[in-house]
Symmetry: D2
Subunit: 369 residues, 4 copies
């Protein structure tokens, strides 16, 4: 089944394997007239690029984007925007061995079972490099949202057992440490923790949080196209994500109604606000104008240097030791992926919402607004 | 935007409001030749019917299903199956008051903002009664899955702070207590806790768990149509869900790779198995043949009898007290909704998977295999 | 596969068989705030109702619509509108015989081959009664379009060899003859022709034309979602349609560029117009503001009283004679079906078009327009 | 709105402008294990390449395809196949003039109206070069169909008033004349006719026919996803198509039931056949196992050398004369485009059909077939 297309109006299609010619994405349905250049996209790609610190793989990739269509005179034309990032460091010789066995925690076995065989070089389509297309598209979605006064802030909330302390939250810190944590102290601790993991040939999971400010009220549709449902799908479609929550999330399951309900009140300018935001900005699947807050639980990098038990394609139980250097934690590089998927989902929902009321449709087509 | 249709091949469309004529669902794309009668569906609907215990609303609804199309001589024909459940207890007079203000934790405000007005009777389309259509469709999906050897077991994992103890797990208990908990002791404690909540005019959240056994390997598609991503969307589209996880879920974010990786091994018959199941039955978005385990965090019932602060449509801050009797906890009645959404999602994924390999396509069309 | 849902934003799902409980449609994504009552829909259904003249089947059906959801206080709420028309004259005893063989020109054989068996009563889902759901939805789409200043005029262009003469076109005539022809003289001739067909136990085909006035410029999307491509699909999805064309259609294939090109000119008020309209109101798949003109070729009713050769399910060649009275021509009753499908398609395209330009998106979300 | 993606399981997404970096297509959902190399695709592209005869534009383009993903060890992997054809002859200087005005018969005006501006170089996205992506995808679809015993034969049926004579039909002729006509005599006449058109600075339309042999019975879904409805959409989405028909098409509208009905009979091996094939291989939207026959009416090339009246963006009526050399007829190069769109549509329908019967689903998942 075709699984590489997402969205209804703002629609993206990604392609490419870790060690193929390249990775790309087609963004269709972006409104015409959005100013866009390669640098807008490159800035995002650089946030997930390998080789940024000792906590990321040393694979050498400039991950430079080329725009092949959809932009004319510096603006989107309304037609598909095709972006490609050619692979450079395709040393597939490293991967000859993994062709024969199933790495624990990876999709080697399930791909083989589904398709009969697989492009085993670097994980092929199930590689983390698949997210490059998402991030390239996310850069465009974020630019679109910014034009509407919507901003996203994303960061590492925790690494293994090390949590950021909300009291210490400082957005300026996020880009000042290699882990993208908004709490300098926690970032230091987390680095020490990761150093231990690496020393033990082990890896760590973590939690990513994304806050979206400036959301209009009314975005998202009832029933199956709830905004949080689509965010859940988009975030869960990122390789290593094992949990997703909005607002108080799993804590809400422990709470009572008195604790969890957000009272409505009026702002001095007469608009409706919530006194608290346990809901995380969504009520009944529709944005309520408060900050939207979402979190993704990311599992530890499955590629660890320690010996592991597994099975090979010949049907034998074997011991393996995965070679090469791998990220001891996926989380920091996945921060921009979560932000991208959130932005793509919200952009699509916004564009779908313009015809919710007959009065808006009439106003648009009378051209008298 | 149209938000009431879900699925690609096994596709459902729901309709209906709490106090309208009725609630219904159209299931399109169910394979022809599945034996099906009204009782198959009624059994599921009865699991979410109100009035089953003191922990559920006293609204009187028989929730009797009528099959209007798609069945002939006791079997599905491959054409749309239309099911309707007519509303009986539509005393909308109770709801005149809530027309004027926004109930905290409900979608009154966001519906008004999105559509300009709303069917305020009993929450209209955002009512919990909307899930009737899902459960009716879920009954069919479950019957289809059962034919393929796949079974689902769903239950209440926790109510507020009261968790089931895995050591005490007893599937036979699930239907023996009004909370659908598989741990008799926890069920008793939870009932005491709910009694306290009710006495305090308060309500409780909880967690639902669903285990799917007998899954074939290879179901789910890479990238955006991962099986867990579609499960996340389906489960998150249920009204009060605020969190979703697969396998170890958020705990995986605290773990290390050594702890979280599931080694592969061989069973005596030579098939591949995992030694553990932290992944919850899905690797790279594709089922790995282990049990699939998912959890949904459900928020406390927002309708509580205690006084609350809110805002009315006239733009005034007011105190309200919601009348009528409401479920002090949504969780027990939502168990079958979670199971239904999981089954619908898996049924669709299974039907989509049949053309993954060229060899299968050729075998099907040669009819000579 | 699910084939009973159409549309992206204005989305319809139909269900029901000729001799089942009833026929219905769910319309999802209709903007909130459109005034709507049962009579708006009934008027359309009455245009396709049987028993209107000697040229239509005598089956007794009032085809009375019930609105089950989506309307509140006389207006659409933005949630799914569920419409049902219960069958009355379900004398399925007449159909016992056709269970065993394949009627020429019908879908009996292909349904059996596809699904393994079929609801043979009155053609089941492949019956002409399936179009009731389309027409009910079409009534809503037309009402929506009318609010935007768009009107549709549909009629019988030809019956067998009898064509309307464009010189005699009189829209007022359309409803004055049982064939819905805009040329009184042609209507008389066509009736004589049909009398001959009936006397010969034969039937006739014909052509339906639909003109859409008041279209805004810019509706339809490039490449696969061209407005004419979606109209082609929508019209071709009507049972007996074998051909479709826009503007000059097949005549354009005989023409030269000089003949076929429509020069642009300016109207006194400075807007752009075309001097001619060979294109039928669409250029590059996008509406150009001229009248849209489309035609559908409808095959002769396959149910004829004359003896025919066919094959039965037991694998024998047999002679059959189809009993009961059948329309000698489908065309007059299909006129409103063509109009409905055109309106549904255009409504969806209009709602999709509102986000084509970034400036419009910004204006909508700044709420300063 | 996103309009560049087509299909449900076999899904294609095209991108690119006439004078941008290149043209491409992503094919997602192609089953794994299909042998595929660049030459398979190049053969198809060469059939629509410019510069093949004096009847096609002299633009120099090798139209060489690169495969960027989805193939491993010579076979499809089940993941997206990304194909790109880089533009070479991008002399956009020729197009400065047409930036300012609207060419009759082109989409310049409608693109401007829809998007606010347009990539005017060579028609941008509305250029005939957009079909390159379709043909590249079509090559893969045809290869897939061939594996299932399905073959497509496509040719020019008529050029302007010159029709092929069915009596002279000789498939071997198709590739022996520059017009792809299966009738050598008609091809000569048509060339004389085109010479006259060119001498008169004029152009010609024509009709393309496609015959599909070897179709299994049962492909296509009832109601909106009828196989002919999807073929209609796919073919009508090709730029210059103004009419589409199946089987007898518009002639069926002139016929009677006795003439048009195809009797069923038995072949010596006991299978069901039709005595005639007025239906063109489809009954009730589902393939009946006979040859499928479809035709597309193609309008004359709108770019003619003769002077024309039009309007410019400054709102003035002007006389224009389009420079450069243009195809005097689109039809011969569009033959492979029609075939490609037909193949893409059929491939998708075939893959969707595999779950129509519960017995097939059970057989697939029991792996005992």
């Amino acid at each position: 089944m075709a699984g590489s297309t997402l969205g209804t109006i703002f629609k993206i299609t990604t392609w490419g394997e870790s060690h193929g010619e390249g990775i790309g994405v087609v963004i269709d349905g972006c409104p015409a007239g959005l100013s866009l250049c390669a640098e807008d996209i490159q800035t995002f790609l650089d946030r997930r690029k390998p080789g940024q610190s000792k906590y990321t793989t040393a694979r050498r990739e400039s991950d430079a984007v080329s725009i092949l269509s959809g932009i004319f005179e510096g603006k989107t034309t309304g037609t598909p925007i095709s972006l490609v990032i050619f692979n450079q460091d395709q040393r597939s010789k490293d991967y000859g061995e993994i062709a024969s066995y199933y790495r624990p925690g990876h999709a080697d076995y399930t791909f083989d079972a589904k398709y009969g065989f697989r492009d085993y070089r670097g994980g092929g389509r199930s590689s983390g490099r698949e997210t490059i297309g998402r991030v390239a598209a996310g850069a465009i979605a974020v630019k679109l949202l910014n034009q509407l006064g919507i901003t996203l802030t994303s960061y590492t909330k925790s690494i293994g057992p090390i949590d950021c302390d909300e009291q210490n939250f400082d957005a300026a810190q996020i880009t000042k440490n290699p882990l993208y944590m908004p709490d300098a102290k926690a970032a230091e601790e987390a680095q020490r923790y990761l150093d231990q993991c690496m020393a033990a040939s082990d890896s760590s999971g973590g939690i990513i949080e994304c806050i979206i400010k400036g959301m209009p009220v009314g975005i998202g549709d009832p029933v199956f196209e709830k905004l949080d449902a689509n965010l859940a799908k988009a975030i869960f479609s990122i390789g290593a994500v094992k949990g997703f929550e909005i607002g108080d999330g799993f804590d809400a399951a422990r709470a009572t109604g008195k604790q969890n309900n957000d009272a409505f009140l009026l702002t001095p300018d007469g608009s409706v606000k919530k006194a608290t935001n346990h809901a995380g900005g969504i009520l009944g699947g529709i944005s309520d104008g408060s900050d939207m807050i979402l979190r993704a639980a990311v599992k530890p990098t499955p590629s660890i240097a320690a010996p592991q038990r597994t099975v090979n394609r010949a049907g034998e139980e074997i011991n393996i030791q995965i070679k090469g250097r791998h990220d001891p934690v996926i989380v920091p590089r996945a921060v921009v992926v979560v932000e991208s998927m959130a932005a793509i989902t919200i952009a699509d929902a916004l564009l779908r919402n313009m015809s919710a009321q007959m009065a808006d449709v009439k106003a648009f087509y009378s051209h008298e607004t």
